[in-house]
């Protein structure tokens, strides 16, 4: 398959490991991965912060980059950014009344996937041949869970990883409190949510907390580091890309 990687601005700038792992994994599975260099961001932060006009401009650039007949699928290591494209773009461009843009979004929506759902539902792969000798707990991020409905795809992938011990997270579906600018605008509430999430993670005794979104991991990881909790955050793609040889 010809796959265009949307690495997301967060992974590109702050956590390149998630993007690199996605490339290595998809290539190992025999797919052709491209990285359209003109890509930047999906516009989610702008839309969710109340800057719809900016978000529309960013969405326009995104569509220009990825609306390409030579691409079979657009894959991103992020549930949230994919949900922006699939859930929010149609309404956003419809409100703008640009018919050409609407048609392009309609083409793009069914071809845009979060990594774990792409592997399990589109490629039909559960065992990607990974090896990861660690105790791991999985946090289902809100947008992958409720907007994309990835279901147990990430868990199925993790269960098939050799040497990995998967430990269930208590109250797993509770939000970590990130929510973009919510974390600073409503810092007290966000902090209370994060504290509960970190308590649940530490109670598992896991060495690693994983998820499909770098942004939520940035929030949880930032909190865990500050508390010197001894638990690392690692993006799911990086676990799936790990092999015994590496």
């Amino acid at each position: 398959m010809r796959i265009a990687l949307f690495t997301t601005c967060v992974a590109d700038t702050l956590f390149p490991g998630a993007g690199i792992a996605t490339v290595e994994l998809l290539e190992r599975l025999g797919h052709q991965v491209s990285f359209p260099r003109a890509q930047t961001c999906c516009g989610q932060m702008h839309l969710n912060s109340g800057y719809e006009a900016h978000a529309l401009n960013i969405a326009r650039s995104f569509v220009e980059v990825f609306d390409d007949a030579e691409i079979d699928a657009v894959v991103a290591p992020s549930g949230s950014c994919v949900a922006m494209v699939r859930d929010q773009y149609p309404g956003l461009v419809a409100r703008a009344g640009d018919l050409r843009l609407q048609a392009a979004v309609a083409r793009l929506v069914p071809r845009t996937f979060e990594l774990s759902e792409f592997l399990v539902n589109e490629l039909g792969i559960v065992d990607v041949g990974a090896y990861y000798p660690h105790r791991v707990t999985y946090h289902p991020t809100c947008h992958s869970l409720r907007l994309l409905r990835v279901g147990d795809a990430p868990l199925r992938l993790l269960r098939a990883v050799r040497a990995l011990t998967l430990i269930a997270l208590d109250d797993a579906q509770g939000c970590c409190g990130f929510g973009g600018t919510f974390a600073v605008k409503n810092a007290d509430v966000s902090t209370a949510m994060l504290a509960d999430k970190m308590r649940a993670i530490q109670a598992t005794g896991a060495e690693v907390c994983t998820a499909v979104d770098s942004s939520c991991l940035m929030h949880i990881g930032g909190g865990l580091r500050r508390e010197r909790a001894g638990v690392r955050v690692v993006h799911l793609a990086e676990i799936l890309a790990s092999t015994e040889a590496a």
């Binding site: 690495t7 390149p16 929510g179 930032g222």
Partner: protein, 466 residues
């Protein structure tokens, strides 16, 4: 603009007893709701039916209201129209005085709480006695409701015992057993029910086709208030109308399971105008606008009017769970309040509420009429920014503008990445910034480390590799 919610929430979040009470209560009811919903095989079809009924109704609201008026009038009722809270309060007060009464028994109603009816009546020397147990607790304690279904959710049994001992005569020996507390309320209210001349209620639904009003309740106080007095006054928001009697078969399956997690609530009463020899001799229906037409005017925010007041969104909301209802400073707290309050008030109140959400989507998932609350929150954030004020101040607007410019051109974006890396380098250890930063970022770094721009971005890695 001030972030009123964050200021109020700071105080509530710090109250660990309150947080524990609300966490216990919401987690209990969450689990029960899930069970009650799981045993309904056609739940998703019912939700979709509920959504469509409400959507279709709103889109033709004028016709349904006119039909409701005709039906109620034909059944012997009198319909009044109230544009604003003050109109409704005046109409109700005049009706009570006209009936020769100085007091009325009330069944829990959000609409009358919204318009401040009790206070307005008190100003005319009329006592409005709340009869729902939780509303009674709130009223006796001169407190504010904190939940739309369980208004005293923030009070524990010990506090309620002290309140009853102090305010209800003859209860000095009362224990904190909930059954005994309920018995005390029963004794106190019984005589009021039997002697009341006027009853005041809200409405869960009103059927345009037949003129039938419907209320759901548990304790029997609703039946008392709508059956025993000579005069019954119902105050309802204009969005509560349903076109057809058969629409109720959908709503009565959705509401109890979403609300109290019961298959059916103990009592549901439906009445149509007046019935000879059975119930009140006079029935008045007050149709309240109170800002609802403002909500209706926004095609992207209109669905907030679909709400059937079940409170499932409050019970699953991670924000409500940490703050409780008072921080919302509105009759309607929680996610539904966050989209309803600013719209109902024409953006004069509650403008910080659309930001009081991490957009986790749990509310949308449980909403029995499928209101896409997260999308409306996002829509209102843009509306408030655009029409009311640059929320977050000039600094945020400037930063968002600069970022948007950077995201619009890959060249600019890459320069911004390099600039950010240069700027953060002195602060970065092992890829993270651990020290506390000034300004808005400080609210992040107070409790969390911040990731620094990577020494090598993904795109730099990619360029090297090819």
């Amino acid at each position: 603009m001030r972030n009123e919610f964050a200021e109020a929430a700071r105080h509530e979040v710090a109250n660990s007893q309150l947080r524990a009470n609300i966490r216990n209560a919401t987690h209990t009811i969450r689990a029960k709701r899930e069970e009650a919903v799981a045993e309904v095989p056609d739940w998703e079809q019912l939700r979709e039916a509920g959504r469509r009924i409400k959507e279709r109704t709103m889109r033709n609201l004028d016709r349904h209201l006119e039909q409701l008026e005709r039906s109620v009038t034909a059944a012997g009722g009198v319909v009044h129209w109230a544009t604003e809270a003050a109109d409704a309060n005046r109409i109700v007060g005049d009706l009570i005085v006209g009936a020769g009464a100085r007091e009325a028994v009330k069944v829990k109603s959000l609409a009358t709480d919204e318009i401040g009816l009790n206070r307005a009546l008190a100003a005319r020397g009329i006592e409005a006695r709340e009869t729902d147990l939780a509303e009674l607790i709130v009223q006796l304690g001169e407190d504010r409701p904190s939940h739309i279904l369980v208004p005293a959710i923030h009070r524990n049994r010990g506090e309620i015992r002290e309140l009853f001992r102090r305010t209800l005569p003859g209860n000095e020996q009362l224990t904190d057993d909930p059954a005994e507390l309920a018995e005390a309320a029963r004794r106190f209210l019984r005589e009021k029910f039997l002697s009341a001349k006027v009853g005041v209620s809200g409405a869960n639904f009103a059927v345009a086709e037949t003129g039938t009003i419907c209320i759901l309740e548990s304790e029997g106080n609703g039946r008392m208030c709508t059956t025993l007095p000579e005069v019954l006054i119902t105050v309802m928001g204009i969005e509560k109308v349903l076109p057809r009697f058969a629409d109720l078969e959908v709503m009565l399956q959705l509401l109890p399971r979403s609300s109290t997690a019961e298959r059916m609530n103990p009592y549901t009463s439906l009445w149509t105008g007046v019935t000879p020899e059975d119930g009140p001799r006079e029935f008045h229906l007050v149709l309240l606008d109170g800002g609802r037409t403002k909500v209706l005017g926004d095609a992207d925010g209109r669905a907030a009017l679909h709400c059937i007041r079940c409170s499932a969104c409050l019970n699953v909301c991670p924000v409500y769970e940490r703050t409780g209802g008072h921080a919302y400073e509105s009759t309607y707290p929680g996610p539904i309040g966050a989209i309803l309050t600013p719209q109902l008030t024409g953006f004069t109140q509650g403008n910080s509420l659309p930001w009081a959400s991490s957009l986790c989507g749990a509310c949308y998932e449980v909403c029995p009429v499928k209101i896409d609350i997260p999308s409306i929150l996002i829509h209102l954030r843009s509306r408030i920014n655009r029409e009311v004020d640059g929320y977050g101040g000039g600094g945020e607007r400037l930063a968002m503008g600069l970022l948007a410019r950077a995201f619009a051109r890959p060249g600019r974006y890459e320069r911004a990445q390099r600039f950010g890396r240069w700027l953060s380098r002195p602060l970065t250890r092992e890829g993270w910034i651990s020290r506390r930063l000034p300004g808005a970022l400080g609210r992040w770094t107070d409790v969390r480390d911040l990731p620094a721009p990577s020494a090598e971005t993904f795109r730099e890695w990619w360029a090297q590799r090819r």
